[in-house]
Symmetry: C2
Subunit: 640 residues, 2 copies
């Protein structure tokens, strides 16, 4: 049985008081909700009904529910008056965006302060629907690990219903960042819809609010497009996959594929919305397009028909940045815009080798015709990268949405309403902020959850940087020293919409789950958890010193182990045990490609060394520099 | 949009009338339920709320709800009177066990007959909770494919809730068999808890009511046992797995494992119970025990420490039938009996090679000491098989439950309360019936869903008999000719408990999903569906001539394609397309082991040729007999 006196919430709320005692919600408890908050209350009702085997009854909101004076205050120990709900969700003013208050008052408690509510009841005040969703997740955590099950493991006789016990608490809470994201790569390995829904559940359980769905890449095209059926008929599967780093050339000989019908994606979007999560679709251009080119070879620079890519690593086979390609992807985006209602649409824009463009006279000519030239006046095909992304970003903008791009896609002509996701390092994000872009910090040095989580000798397919759960917990989206360099005193100035002269806003942070080496939901569980819990606390909770070994870090690890891992166990998350993998989670003999963070940082600084580099990357660095062979041919998305 | 006028239910109810029109259930619709039926109504409310984005409000049962006279009958076109529920679940007499009636009356309908209910309302009458669960599943099917999603794919503006539309129908329905089972093998490949829950959802959606969970086998032990922690520490994982038939010796080099904590199993049991499904745990003895022997070598005949088995096929390494082994498994069963509340507990008992017993003097001596001797008076170790199972069956019986065993375990000393599952063929089941045992028919010739579903050249890892969806649909649990042979006119006589002199009862049928070649949930989807839908109709619906090509078979295929596959699509089931696998569902280069049903039947008749045979099996048959090499060393559980 969990200890209701010690909630151990993750992420930790801004303020929590536990006056003692508890609230019991029996079968038939009444839940009243402001209509604006209904999806959050409905979700909480449903998971609680399921986990505890009880009925929770939606009821009308008492007339004075929104007022500060609780029912029954004059008779604190008595039952709530007839007609009062046991749980109430109301809108309230005076809360920060996305914030909420919870007061769960013990039945015997006499003093209600702040939020109010009768003894033995729970009152949730939310700034908005997002706040109510966050509050609902906190309520579930308060009910203990059993609340994370889908049926009650405590058997009861027929007619003997369960009971929900919550600790008496007063919580006041709000998120630090408005974009608390996680990227899920369903392109490298297709994840069936029900597993995506489960991933959404888990993201929501950690009060994350953005899921970036990486829907297309060299190795697979996962979104149905009615106008271009070959995208899924040909592009949704590959003959086999590389096992481990591409450097060994090891293949599994097993076809892999799958795609989401548009109604599946609509369901995913609605399911996420019901949990306070916005799904941001990503259609990656003009690189990472081999699957699309396999379906429609005329999109490619080479125009030849090849299969969907079966290896990892950066592909040279990028789009021909033609009017035809632009029109094609505008049509694709039109369907994407119809399916996804998010205000943000991802266009990729990472890792675009220009080698083939340089070798194609018609593309050199196109750069010249478009006036894209270098300082010497000669056509500069490299600028076609930014040009192509900017054109599609404008299309997204014309549709009333904002494009989201990886940091390489920033160029002087990129519309200023585009959101830049900084993955190669921190410096690119800081520079984008200084240039007036809103930025999401997602540096591979810190929050790539496919990177190895430990130095255990049996760590499965160890790639990328060593990122323990403590390391992820120490992530700071914009380190102060860097912030000073790039932003000066304007760093936190609220941004005026329109034609910006001011720095952009730091919207938040995003963890990435790339799946080259995560070939099923179990492997995704292992890589993602519990590190995503650490990330979520960074993204939600007030800023703090969380360096490994700090008091905050130690407290988090203790809270994780005593309170949160039991929740993940109850949910059935196959997370990485803190001590290293279970034997069946290992992948003996499969080579990864570990990188050395300290060494790369020593050379690359805040900007890192990732991504495709025209100069050949770290190969051309002094020989005493860290030397992962041909780092420029890695897939910086997975560093393998 | 689905056509509410043509419900196309699967399994088909005993009687369906569609008078025309439809019932609309809006946001806030009231659901009244007899307390005895609450779990079924709660489940239906929850899935409907989720799929359509509405609140359904549990409300008190009207005083006269159980009576035949509906509210508002005098004003058929008017609204339901204040206080009347929109949907009512009540108990009713005059229905067969597990049966139900549904009357959904169109808002403008004037004539209510039989079940009753006001116009624009839905009235469910159930014989019992099982009937209510079946009715709830039928109600979901009536709402169309969208009801199988976990969120509404039809976006609506804020505050604009959805609406459920049901066709006006009168359904009267009851199951043909009381045991409508499906076996899921989580031993050969561990299936994470959430995937097991999803499998339960799908079984329930087809009105099946028994899930036999095959928890232990040579290749893995999946159930936590507190007293014997090595069972999961050592027995829950293996170093690698065989790919395809064991005959090629191909291995994947990838560790595989996992197990269910007892609370996970309790949750699974409760989740299934909430959907009308009983979970029957199976602990397989005295064969199929290599994982347990790897954990506790003293259990084995050889007493040596070997690893968990990495190949398929029948293992020689069976239990030492000692008092120590008996005590061990009694302790295991005590924990199993505590976790699972099913009236039935599986003990396996299939495929027990006696070779090592014959070679072990202490075991020969044991047979002698127990008085197990052949006609010549010499000790007969083969009888230890039946003896061992009988002893544990008695232990289960002493705990107030009934053991379930595979047909090889029948012996003269097997307690008569044991349920026999007939897998090697039909004859074994018929013989067990004649001997007084209750029987579940599960012949590998008909309802092994891991067997190949088609002759498509790209069929993934084709093993076993060719069983198309039409073949499965033609399954008759006890063919009439055989029934006459074994049962005579007593076949359907209700059985008197206690010391039986009468034939046993044919409880029903069970489909098997063995997972040697189904290494994840996607592969399980492919093998299981849509054939499980065909099986479910056989197990539920009235007996009919369903031979391939018959009118009933054609009608079913049409109904499946037009009405039921869209439901499975909406749910996200990756079923086998009727025309053959998607490219990514193939396994090129992985060898299966197809068997020839006609040839084996020609030799083996109703009894088949499966299972371990002391005589060496089909090897010793005349050479013109069908000759799969060493059929006696196959794993008859998967025939690969």
């Amino acid at each position: 049985m969990h200890d209701p006196g010690d909630p151990g919430l993750v992420p930790e709320p801004a303020s929590t008081q536990v006056p003692g005692g508890s609230v019991l919600l029996p079968n038939g408890a009444r839940v009243a909700t402001d209509p604006a908050l209904r999806p959050a209350a409905r979700w909480w009702r449903r998971v609680t009904e399921e986990a505890f085997g009880i009925d929770l009854v939606p009821t009308a909101l008492p007339v004075d529910a929104a007022g500060p004076a609780p029912h029954g205050l004059t008779d604190p120990a008595g039952p709530a008056p007839e007609g009062t709900a046991d749980v109430t969700f109301v809108l309230a003013t005076g809360l920060l965006t996305g914030g909420y208050r919870i007061e769960a008052r013990a039945a015997a408690s006499g003093s209600g302060t702040g939020v109010g509510g009768a003894p033995g009841t729970v009152r949730v005040e939310a700034a908005d629907l997002a706040g109510a969703h966050a509050a609902a997740q906190t309520l579930r955590q308060l009910a203990g690990p059993a609340a994370f099950r889908r049926a009650s493991a405590a058997y009861r006789g027929a007619g003997d219903a369960g009971m929900v016990e919550l600790p008496a608490v007063r919580i006041e809470d709000h998120p630090r960042f408005e974009w608390r994201g996680v990227l899920l790569d369903v392109a490298r390995h297709f994840l069936p819809k029900h597993d995506v829904l489960r991933f959404i559940d888990l993201a929501a359980a950690h009060r994350l609010n953005v899921l970036q769905l990486h829907l297309t890449d060299d190795q697979g095209w996962r979104v149905q497009v009615h106008r271009y059926p070959e995208l899924t008929r040909t592009g949704a599967w590959r003959r086999e996959s590389t096992v481990g780093t591409w450097r060994t050339g090891s293949r599994d000989g097993r076809p892999h594929g799958g795609f989401y019908a548009q109604d599946d994606l609509r369901e995913i979007v609605a399911y996420a919305r019901d949990r306070g999560i916005t799904v941001v679709p990503e259609i990656d251009v003009p690189g990472h397009v081999e699957a699309a080119v396999a379906a429609y070879p005329e999109l490619g620079t080479r125009k030849d028909r090849s299969g969907v890519r079966t290896t990892w690593g950066i592909s040279q086979d990028v789009l021909d940045p033609s009017e035809g390609s632009l029109a094609f992807f505008r049509h694709v985006l039109d369907e994407v815009l119809d399916v996804f209602d998010a205000p943000w649409i991802g266009l990729g824009g990472d890792e675009v080798p220009t080698t083939l463009w340089r070798e194609s006279p018609h593309i050199v000519e196109r750069a010249r015709a478009l006036g894209l030239s270098g300082p010497d006046g000669a056509p500069d095909v490299a600028q076609l990268h930014g040009w192509f992304v900017a054109r599609l970003a404008q299309h997204v903008s014309d549709a009333g949405r904002r494009a989201v791009v990886w940091d390489e896609a920033v160029s002087p002509i990129l519309p200023r309403d585009v959101i830049v996701t900084s993955w190669r390092g921190y410096a690119q994000g800081a520079a984008a902020l200084a240039a007036g872009y809103d930025v999401v910090m997602a540096p591979e040095q810190a929050v790539y959850l496919d990177h190895r989580a430990g130095e255990h000798p049996a760590e499965p397919i160890p790639v990328g940087f060593l990122r323990t759960v403590e390391d992820v917990y120490s992530f700071e989206p914009l380190p102060a020293s860097l912030s000073a360099d790039y932003l000066g005193q304007h760093a936190s100035t609220p941004q005026v919409a329109g034609n910006r002269q001011e720095p952009g806003r730091l919207l938040g942070a995003q963890a990435q789950v790339w799946t080259e080496h995560l070939d099923n939901a179990r492997r995704i569980d292992y890589a993602t958890f519990p590190r995503l819990a650490a990330f979520a606390e960074v993204a939600w909770s007030p800023r703090a010193d969380r360096e490994p070994g700090s008091p905050a870090s130690k407290e988090f690890l203790d809270r994780l182990e005593r309170h949160h891992l039991p929740r993940l166990d109850a949910y059935g998350v196959e997370y990485r045990p803190l001590g290293g993998p279970h034997p069946w989670q290992t992948r003996p003999g499969v080579e990864g490609y570990p990188r050395d963070l300290a060494a790369e940082t020593a050379v690359g600084g805040w900007a890192g060394l990732g991504g495709w580099r025209e100069d050949g990357g770290v190969e051309n660095l002094p020989t005493d520099a860290p030397g992962p062979e041909r780092a420029s041919e890695q897939t910086p998305e997975d560093d393998a």
